[in-house]
Amino acid sequence: MSSLTYDIVDSRIMVGRCLRRSWRDPEAFFTALMLPIILMLLFVYVFGGALRDHGPYVDYVVPGLIVLCAGFGAGTTAVALATDLAGGIVDRFRSMPIRASAILLGQVAASLTRNLLATALVIGVGLGIGWRPTTSVWRWAGALGLIVLFILALSWLAAAVGLLAGGPEAANSFTFVLMFLPYVSTAFVPTDTMPSVLRGFAENQPFTPIIETMRGLWMGHTSTGASTAHEALIALAWTLGLLALSWPAATHLFRRTTTH
């Protein structure tokens, strides 16, 4: 077998290990699955009535929930990596003749899988309770493409955070930040009613253009009034920028933390 084949085998085994670990932590797994469902029902049926402005609230809220769940999932990834580093298993892997990058790749690929599952759940439940987005294949492909890119960037960022955190507990606080950031964006309410300082932040933070791009693609119009193409350009700049930073950063940090 060629060395590339070996790299693929190694990475596949690592992904399998990480996913197995995810399924076997019943508490975390249950939370990860329940979170999208409960939040969806909570926002649509508890808050949604009061927030109803232009059409059903579920039409507004789906992209925001996807981003929120991705933030939660990224926290899980950071904790999983920090836990591995705290134990001896990474040392064992590194003393074996396998490519060190497979270890990191395993975590990121597992993170991508978990988060796409959560995204599918949000979309499924949304459709189940009356969300009626576009049926255009191209618009769907665009929205899903952006989600994959966004989750990938967030997963690499999570990996970098997990490496920097120095322990599972510290890594956990990352979840907290990412879970609250979407609230100060256009995820759940338009920015019109926010105080000007908050509004400035909400309109310019990376989650807003990402959410608005999905909204524009699925529903045909954004909530900010800007064109979908405009939001998409900013969203792509943010996600690609984040990916271009977090990927090499995580790789570098991994090498640094494990070879000193």
Binding site: I13, R92, T259
Partner: protein
């Protein structure tokens, strides 16, 4: 003579703290080398360097014919590492752990499964194979860790404090396993802070303190460097102790005995002898004659061969370091009635 490891002048510092200060090492093929030292002596750092997990600041080493610095992948292919913290995945089952490691060594799925089953049987884990490692006892975890290291018979096996935290029975069991591995021609680098463990397992011992190997040799060579037999006198009262101390002091002249160690608090004197009954009798006669032994204050006498603890103490002069070692006394020691 062929060597599995040759290391020269290995140095490593973390900031201003020098952890390894020029370590030379040569391990014969198929031997068990015991690297002995207190916590913080640099044992784990040396293992991490030789296992390619860390780069030395300077120095060079060859492991199983591969240069450590220029061919780390070759080194990785020849070694197995069993760490201080059992490096297995405790969320997976024993079987899954072994199959995963076998997969990473590119055995192929069917071969991986077969090898895992073999090792589970060999390391007495077959009954527990489908239980998560989290539910394993300390001894079972270490056995699984060792099994994982033996998926492909390595040329060099690192055992970094393999029995730390194990109960005495599991420790004995693990020692048996290590002997079994050594018999399979695997070169073993064992680090331990238990001198008894090095005595039991190692062909050669190196004593590492403050980043340097201060002594090396077989356990017997190291012990005989302190004389063959130590007579230990424990006195019931300070008066008898002081009399004996005075009688044995160099200033008393011509007794032919020297004091190896004396402890005012414990009223204890250690005297090296050749171990013959004649010498012991001379010593006891001397004590009776000088008031070190009276009907009212007669010392208890025991003899023992110097343990590695004694060697270690003599070399480092710090009781503190060996204090971390609740070393069970060696079996060669015999209690004598007075």
């Amino acid at each position: 003579m062929s060597y599995t490891v040759i290391a020269e002048g290995i140095r490593k510092s973390f900031g201003a703290q020098v952890v390894l200060d020029g370590v030379d090492l040569a391990l014969d093929r198929g031997s068990v080398f015991g690297l002995l030292g207190p916590n913080g002596a640099g044992k784990t750092t040396l293992v991490r360097i030789l296992a390619t997990l860390m780069r030395p600041d300077s120095g060079r080493a060859t492991v199983a014919g591969h240069d450590l610095l220029t061919d780390p992948v070759g080194v990785k292919g020849a070694i197995s590492l069993t760490g201080q913290y059992a490096a297995v995945d405790d969320v997976l089952t024993g079987r899954e752990n072994l199959e995963m490691m076998a997969g990473l060594l590119h055995l192929g799925r069917r071969a991986a499964r077969a090898r895992a089953a073999e090792l589970l049987a060999e390391f007495d884990l077959t009954d527990a194979r489908d239980r998560r490692v989290r539910t394993y006892s300390g001894g079972m975890r270490r056995r699984l860790d060792l099994a994982a290291s033996m998926i492909r018979r390595p040329e060099l096996l690192f055992l970094d404090e393999p029995t730390t935290g194990l109960d005495p029975r599991s420790r004995e069991q693990l020692w048996g396993t290590v002997r079994h591995l050594a018999a399979q021609d695997v070169t073993i680098l064992l680090t331990t802070q238990y001198l008894e463990e090095a005595d039991q397992l190692a062909d050669t011992v190196g004593m590492l303190t403050a980043g340097r190997i201060v002594a090396r040799g077989t356990p017997d060579e190291l012990k005989s460097s302190l004389g063959t037999e130590i007579v230990r006198l424990r006195f019931p009262d300070a008066r008898a102790y002081q009399s004996a101390l005075a009688a044995l002091a160099p200033s008393a002249g011509g007794t032919g005995f020297t004091i190896e160690a004396a402890d005012d608090g414990a009223l204890r004197i250690d005297i090296p002898t050749d171990g013959s009954s004649a010498r012991l009798r001379d010593l006891l006669d001397l004590l009776v004659a000088t008031g070190g032994s009276t009907a009212a204050g007669s010392p208890r006498v025991s003899t023992h061969r110097p343990s590695l603890d004694d060697v270690f103490l003599a070399l480092t002069g710090t009781a503190d370091t060996a204090g971390a070692t609740p070393a069970p006394r060696s079996a060669t020691r015999s209690e004598l009635a007075r």
